[in-house]
Symmetry: C2
């Protein structure tokens, strides 16, 4: 892998491989390990109070001299406090998701931050570009966790985004090996964001039960639920079956919110309750057969990418 | 595009580009045009009675000296008659879908036919390989028309199939341009099957209203409905909204079958009733901006593939 492009320049990284910010998964350990191995690590603020985020940023700074970033879900009630922590701790790269970046970008740009917004359709991409985002992550519906309502797949989304915007497009959703990285570049992406594969690493903060659930998962282990109150992809379990049954019976928003309850992501990913928690994972979990260190994984991704490119190089 | 591999050898074609068999779309005109331009054309028997299929085969034979095939949905009540027509007319290549190829393969193999089965998950792929299919089409959930129940996307499905079977894997679902073809090969496919892009050609039998609906479609124009009685992807319209409303209210199978009624595919695709018919199309319709002749399209696909491969060739 010998890629020098707009994404590697923008993020000051060796390889255009970004580790997704993931709740209960991507603290300073994972983010610093990815950055130390040539990618971009992201601290996932989604499961952190502002002061915990500060602690993770400080520890990440101590663990790496390389570039890293913070992922902030914009629908958080305390989003302004999270942004303040990012600015106070002199973070240089912010990935925003689940909301409109327009409200925050002026402040971030005033402090010269790089701002990358996660989108799931063309409309969101054009909006992100128009407010001044430096790049977008285009996330297909195969991605784990929260998904856009249009359910556009990576294969269809990425080329349409590339045609629609001038800023770089980073492909997310379904990328778990070097073949996926090569395919993303064929579709026109300038980088990839990888989630679930990094969630099943030694440095991930997820519970061991969660990591082993990802490893055990096959091609049809995930499902999409809660379309009416916020689409989520997760590994099928007792809880997801209850939700699907309720949905098939026409449950309304209140009933679904009651089924969701509180802290169900933590119950699954962090506490390892594989049957009653939300075990958020991407459809690519079927490709993941082991828990590796980040160092092992990054080497594997790069070797696998190189092998894929060599194999396809003779096709013209 | 200079590909000589197991798929081009098996099907005796210049380019490993297969035009999907599509109801009300792919008769002898489309199939012969694709074969004459270096791909593999398929007559879609799904919307044909046995004698009409025979007529299309005879006309296709008269229109091309190249290899072409027939796609047969195995759930058809008159599947045995369709198979007999195929054998009597000395067809060499059959694509089977929507059912178990095991019941028919012995007869087809006795006559030395090449048999390729369409699958949507690993289990179906292993089954197809075990009964003796020569190759499989792996069809992601972005594909138009009838889809597998597991909703696995092309990006996640193809590499898992490639890892699971030894026979060649042809990628379908989401492929509409040269970037998609290149991405499919990166994921490990040995060929592509393209549907919706060929449905919007001059030689397609679809109604002009249908073709223009594909051209007008954007990234989020399709939806998946009828999960409980047989998942279908189509362009959103008045009818699909009625179905979605019924599904959200917990409609049962009988109610959904009543909403479906009869001949709704014909009403949409062949008769051009854009609001009340089933306008089956893949999510890649957002990438399709014009109606081309098959000759123009094949040239475009190949040029676009070559350009994509040249762009990505410097990445290692």
């Amino acid at each position: 892998m010998n890629i020098h492009n707009r994404v590697t320049e923008l993020l000051k990284i060796k390889h255009p491989i970004i580790q997704a910010g993931m709740v209960w998964v991507s603290g300073w350990r994972l983010a610093s390990a990815v950055s130390n191995n040539g990618g971009l690590g992201l601290i996932g603020a989604g499961s952190m109070k502002p002061e915990l985020l500060r602690e993770h940023i400080i520890k990440c700074n101590a663990a790496t001299e390389k570039s890293f970033g913070v992922n902030i879900p914009l629908l958080r009630g305390d989003v302004n406090e999270l942004m303040n922590v990012v600015l106070e701790e002199k973070i240089k790269i912010v990935f925003t998701a689940a909301g409109h970046p327009g409200r925050h970008i002026e402040q971030l740009k005033k402090h010269n931050l790089t701002v990358i917004h996660v989108v799931s359709n063309i409309k969101q991409a054009l909006k992100a570009e128009s407010v001044g985002c430096d790049a977008i992550v285009g996330e297909g519906v195969e991605a784990g966790g929260h998904n856009g309502p249009d359910e556009i797949t990576t294969f269809c989304l990425i080329p349409q985004l590339v045609d629609a915007v001038n800023i770089p497009v980073i492909a997310a959703g379904g990328v778990a090996d070097g073949r996926g990285i090569a395919a993303a570049f064929s579709l026109g992406a300038d980088g990839v964001q990888i989630g679930t594969r990094f969630a099943a690493t030694v440095e991930s903060s997820a519970h061991e039960v969660y990591k082993q659930s990802v490893v055990a998962a096959t091609d049809n282990s995930t499902t999409l639920v809660l379309k009416n109150i916020g689409l989520v992809r997760l590994i099928k379990n007792n809880w997801s079956k209850n939700v699907e049954r309720a949905e098939a019976n026409g449950a309304n928003e209140i009933e679904l919110k009651n089924l969701l309850g509180e802290k169900r992501e933590r119950l699954g990913i962090s506490e390892g309750n594989a049957e009653e928690g939300m075990m958020e994972a991407g459809q690519s979990c079927g490709l993941i057969k082991n828990v590796l260190t980040v160092n092992e994984l990054m080497k594997l991704l790069i070797d696998d990418f190189d092998n894929t490119m060599k194999k396809t190089s003779g096709l013209i």
